[in-house]
Each structure stands twice: as C-alpha cells, then as structure tokens.
C-alpha cells in the first residue's frame, strides 16, 4: 500500500478522536507510517458485529419477558459476554450459570448469588430482578 492510498474513511474511531497507525511505502519505496481515520470494509464488519449483538440483546429481552429465560442471560448479552466469560467473572461453573438462566431457578437464588451477578453487571439487585419492557 502506498502512503497516499492509506484510506481516510469515516468510522467509529472518529467519535473518540482516535486515529490508528498504518504501515505504507512512500514515493521512494521506503516504509513509513501514516494515520488512518478508518476504512469502510472494516467499519462495515464492525457495524455488523455490533448490530448482531443488539439483535441478541433484543431477543434475550423478549425471552425474559416471555418468562423463557432469566434476566441473567439478558445482561450477559448486553455486556457482550458469552457463557464462559460470564462464568469466569462470577467464579462459577458454566453449567451452574446456565442453570440460573431458568426463571424458576433464578427466582430461588440466594441474596449472595444475586449480589455476585449484580456486581459483575454493575447494576443493583433490584435492577437485576426487574427488566422493563
């Protein structure tokens, strides 16, 4: 890639006033660095990944409201986690966390366990138990 060809597309980096560094060759074929504000092919990929997460969050919310899963799954998706990441944050086995997705099990959770989840998700226990439609 030539230095003059380093893409300067609009991207999410701009929101944080951030530009990243690219390696490119100058007119004499010497390697140098150049800032880039973004590149469409990767911006599209990132936007798609974000949309995908949003869809997962919305689907989880729907299932919580339909009493098919517990709010823990909703908050897990909201924090871009998967089962293994969440399990390591709360320090429990994956199967245990998965079991807590069951609304009937979730209702019987001890205050201590609820507190653990609430801390990881940075919400109060009340917020954890109640999800607004």
């Amino acid at each position: 890639m030539k230095r003059s060809e380093v893409p300067q597309d609009k991207s999410n980096l701009g929101t944080a006033n951030l530009r990243e560094l690219c390696y490119a060759v100058d007119e004499n074929g010497e390697y140098t660095t150049e800032h880039t504000s973004g590149w469409d092919p990767k911006t599209i990929a990132l936007t798609n990944a974000i949309d995908d997460i949003k869809e997962r969050v919305a689907a989880a919310k729907k299932r919580v409201l339909a009493n098919e899963t517990s709010p823990i799954e909703y908050y897990m998706e909201l924090h871009k986690m998967d089962l293994s990441v969440l399990a390591s944050y709360v320090g429990m086995w994956k199967w245990r966390v998965k079991r807590h997705f069951k609304p009937s099990v979730f209702k019987k959770l001890s205050a201590k366990t609820l507190q653990k989840y609430a801390e990881v998700f940075d919400v109060s226990v009340e917020q954890l138990q109640q999800i607004d439609s």
Binding site: M1, V6, N12, L13, T15, A16, L18, R19, E20, L21, C22, Y23, A24, V25, G29, E30, Y31, T33, H35, T36, W39, D40, P41, K42, I44, A45, L46, T47, N48, A49, I50, D51, D52, H79, K80, M81, D82, S84, V85, S88, Y89
Partner: protein
C-alpha cells in the same frame, strides 16, 4: 510522580510497549523490528474455538509470544509478575513508579473507558505502559492511542483483573538487564527462520495450509450455515485481519517494513526486494477484504453462492503466493 517517558504511537500494542520500553532505556528498536524478531507473523485457524460467535482465526502469534521471543533473541531480561490479589498488584505497581520505573501491563479491553464503545470487547491481551501517578490517577501510555491518557485506581484494577480467556491476573513486566550492545543481526536471522517454519508448517490449520483450509470453509459456509451466518463469519475474518493493531493487511505491511529495515541492516539486497513482494501480498489481502465486504455489506440478503467461490479463489491465490514467498525468504537468509 511522573516519569519522563516518551509516548510513541504504534500499530500494535505488544510491539509498541516493547519498543517504547526499550527506547526509554536508551535502545532504539522500531516496532517492525520487534515484530519481526519476535516472529509475530502467522496465520492460524483454531478449530472448535468460537470468538464473538464466529470461528477463531488469527494473523499473529499468541499474545506474549512476540514479547518473549524478542527478549530471548536480543538478550534482554524482563521481570514478569502476576498476582492473586488486586491489593498486592497495586502495591507492586506503586513501588515501581516511585522508583521511576515505567512498567508494562497486560489488561482487558472491555473496561478501558478511553476506547470507543464499539471497540470494547472481552479481549484480554491488550498492553499499555504506566509511567506515573498523580493523586489516585495513573498516567497511561497506550501505544495504539495517539496521545497519552489516564485511568483511575479503580478503573486500572478492573482492567488488570479482567476475566475470561487470557485473563491478565495483574500481569506486570519491565526490563531489568540489557546486553552491553544490542546485537540484532543474529536475532533477525532467528526471527525470520522461525516465521518461515511457521508459515510453511505441514499442519492444515497453520500458515499457508491454514489459509487454504479457510478458503475451503468459505465455500462450504453458505451451503451449510446459510448466508447470514456465512456473512457474519466473513466479517469476523476481515476484522481479525484489519482491526486496530494490524497496521493493515493482516500484519503483512509491518512485516514488509521489518524486511526492509533488516535488509539494510544486514546489507542483504534480497530481503529488500522481498519486502516489496510482501507489500504486494499485503495489497492482495486488502483486495480480499474489499471484495468480502461487498458480500457482507447486506447482512442477511440472499447472495449468489458463486461470490463466495470467488473470494475463496482469491484466498487460495494468496496462499500460493505466500508459499512461494516464504520458500524464497528461507533461502535468502
């Protein structure tokens, strides 16, 4: 307490931290040099592991490997510490800053407040340097940022003790012993040989063969998983290739920069001409990303299956080029 530390922005965090710490100690080593000597270039597909609900593919060596290999090959000794308790981790960090010793830290990205929201994923192998503390705020030099930044005690503790794969566990490191004079020549040869061996490995998931395996999978995905999932997977490949830290073209441009620098240092003309060949291969990776993005631009619309074959062909062409390239590189050194 503020240490006189010069922040240089780099493309990739691991090379950047090593390069910045070396510069602070009076040894000028560029980012591509660290990357090349540490044999950072790779292609690897990790079957069965899913990252962000897509197959795991990497264009670089495992986190920490570049760093270890570089230190070993140039003869710099690093002290590394990991901690069970956040209090102990904080205490050791504060002690070092008091002794005017800037340290590298491994951190998780998810709670790094100065990153744009969209970039905050559960990725735990990010690196930065702490070069001071004012009140309860740490002064941070994050190599991928243009300028220096800060984190509060609480924020820093959160990112140092992020959980999940590659959990940093407060991981802290800094150089303690240097050779009298930096001898890069031998280290460069070792680094290049290692990369050639990796890229030409007779394993179906690594190097050139790994690229071919992915090409095969790309042909299969739309039929087996449907276009929506196939497009998501494709998007992930491009993200791994081009996301912050790669310097463009899945690290191929950084590597080309390394070959150019190494060629001049060793007086080896072949390396300089191979550098421009690597640049062309990098351009092919960029073309692949552009064409792949045309497919995943519309996430779920029906796409003709032939377009997947087209980009799979492109990948196979790249793999063939890289195979020839690394065979030549092996002989050139």
């Amino acid at each position: 307490m503020k240490i006189d530390f010069t922040h240089h922005q780099s493309a990739h965090c691991e090379n950047g931290v090593v390069s910045n710490l070396m510069k602070h100690n009076g040894f000028t080593v560029s980012e591509p040099m660290v990357f090349g000597i540490g044999s950072g270039l790779l292609f690897c597909y990790i079957p069965f592991l899913m990252v962000n609900h897509a197959p795991a593919i990497t264009y670089r060596a495992m986190p920490g490997f570049i760093f270890n290999r570089f230190a070993k090959r140039v003869g710099v000794t690093f002290k590394r510490e990991k901690f069970k308790s956040p209090e102990a981790a904080k205490k050791r960090l504060d002690e070092n800053i008091k002794q005017k010793n800037p340290v590298g830290l491994q951190v998780g990205v998810y709670n790094l407040g100065y990153f744009p929201d969209e970039y905050r994923f559960h990725f735990n192998a990010h690196n930065l340097v702490v070069y001071g503390k004012e009140g309860d705020t740490y002064l941070i030099s994050d190599p991928v940022m243009e300028e220096v930044t800060t984190l509060t005690e609480k924020e820093l503790e959160k990112v140092r003790f992020a959980k999940g794969a590659f959990a940093p566990k407060g991981h802290m490191y800094y150089p303690v012993a240097f050779p009298k004079e930096l001898q890069l020549e031998k280290a460069i040869v070792k680094g290049i040989k290692h990369t050639c061996r990796d890229m030409l490995a007779p394993v179906p998931i690594v190097g050139v063969k790994g690229i071919k395996t992915i090409a095969k999978l790309i042909r299969k995905w739309p039929k087996k998983k449907g276009t929506k999932v196939a497009n998501h997977y494709l998007g992930q490949i491009v993200r791994m290739q081009e996301e912050i830290g790669t310097g463009g073209g899945g690290f191929r441009y950084i590597y080309a920069a390394f070959l150019q620098e190494a060629g001049k240092l060793l007086g080896n003309e072949k390396l300089v001409s191979l550098s421009s060949e690597m640049t062309q291969i990098g351009d092919l990776w960029r073309d692949f990303a552009v064409d792949a993005s045309r497919i995943y631009r519309n996430r779920s619309t029906k796409v003709d299956v032939n377009v997947y074959d087209d980009i799979a062909n492109q990948l196979e062409a790249i793999a063939d080029k890289e195979e020839v390239f690394f065979k030549k590189l092996k002989k050139a050194i």
